[in-house]
Symmetry: C2
Subunit: 282 residues, 2 copies
Amino acid sequence: MKIGIIGLGLIGGSFALAAKKHVSPSRLFGNDKNLENEKRALELGLIDEILKKSDFFQMDVILLAIPVDAALDLIDDLLDQINDNTLLIDVGSTKSMICEKVAFHPKRNQFLATHPIAGTEFSGPTAAFDSLFIGKSQILCETNKTRPDLLEWAVSWFKNINMRLREMDPKEHDKHIAYVSHLSHISSFMLGKTVMEKEKDEKTIFDMAGSGFESTVRLAKSSPDMWTPIFKQNQENILEVLDQYISNLQEFKRLIEQKNYEAIYDKMLKTNAIKEILTGIN
Amino acid sequence: MKIGIIGLGLIGGSFALAAKKHVSPSRLFGNDKNLENEKRALELGLIDEILKKSDFFQMDVILLAIPVDAALDLIDDLLDQINDNTLLIDVGSTKSMICEKVAFHPKRNQFLATHPIAGTEFSGPTAAFDSLFIGKSQILCETNKTRPDLLEWAVSWFKNINMRLREMDPKEHDKHIAYVSHLSHISSFMLGKTVMEKEKDEKTIFDMAGSGFESTVRLAKSSPDMWTPIFKQNQENILEVLDQYISNLQEFKRLIEQKNYEAIYDKMLKTNAIKEILTGIN
């Protein structure tokens, strides 16, 4: 079995390692727009050799792990070039546009749209590790449009990695992920920006970062190359939830201005319920 | 040496453990408004016995680790009751008001205002652990107003715990901590609130929380009992930085509306500099 990985960053690289561990491919191919990343991925043993365009046809599985705008540009061409039994899996953070893009492609049934809910704030092949996906959610979209034998192979691989599979409509996915993930990133980026603007002394930021800032600003280390196209593709959902977030902050600000500490206490107490939600008991 | 701890939560409890490890007090006393906490602290061995009001006079050191409004209410009475060689240390998250409150007390020179920059989102005595303060910053205010021998004892204790000491004016402290810490908490609380409002399906929050939300919302698990009085005492600084944060979010929203992806990319790239700041190289 030959597996090709397009995009050797944190996600692509970690899937390469997870493939080596759980699928034992005879040969693992990979490429990256960034030639330094390709070189590092070879050195780190993430891949066995560089995936060339002329290799696409001989791959059994190709995993597409590049920024969502680049994936959209590449997907048609890629489907054209694979053989009639190749499975093409995409792992981008938005799902509507890519599903729409391939909807009428003759090889639509060789495509599987997924979103592994896993990551760190680090990027590139050196950030990859084989346990990244263990116990993490893997969202699958439009599985009824993927050929059953190819779907079965993918599902079995993800289950071997110990991912928690969940089916979701692409539009629903994009809405939910805007709420739960994309907003967190904007919140964190703007927090980092605000603190750097107000607090000119970097030593003071460092000295006081342990008081909550460090974890809250973690996502502001994320790659703009990855995130700009996500905000582009999920504009509508993001604007909706960002609007709500700003309203909530304005309301909290008003309560502080009005010294309405009872209401402030109450809002925080109610939000504490997130504790139980995150333990997954419900 | 007899040490008394008032407030047996995460901070008080962890200082109790750190005292046992580094100071070897002959006896460790403690109390908490919450009788369950007192009982648990005894069971967990954080303290040897309950600290009663009548014991204050015989303490060598008293550490005040209660919400900042309660500390403000208690401090004068506490200074009145200690003996002439007792050191009283406060560890609250705001420093201006408490320093003003004690400014003209006859025992002002037995008081040391500190803020250990350490914590987790958990509270109560069960959350305490002896290594909480290792390597963390300890802010000291108005050290010139504390009797040198008492200050020396405190500094030596904090150094034994391996804390990084830093002197700061109380007003400066409150400004910096609003920027670096208090804003993070509001950002996180309102993020949690927004996501819970928009995303009614708790299972979906749980399934997707790994995509950044989990760390960004961590502070929204914090105790309203602790945080309401902090927002009250640091109102002015918090309003100033919260205003800036809301402006930055509004500007980011405008850029998404205008599809100005170049500016969005640029803002994120610049904010990535937080990476280097948090490594403390500067």
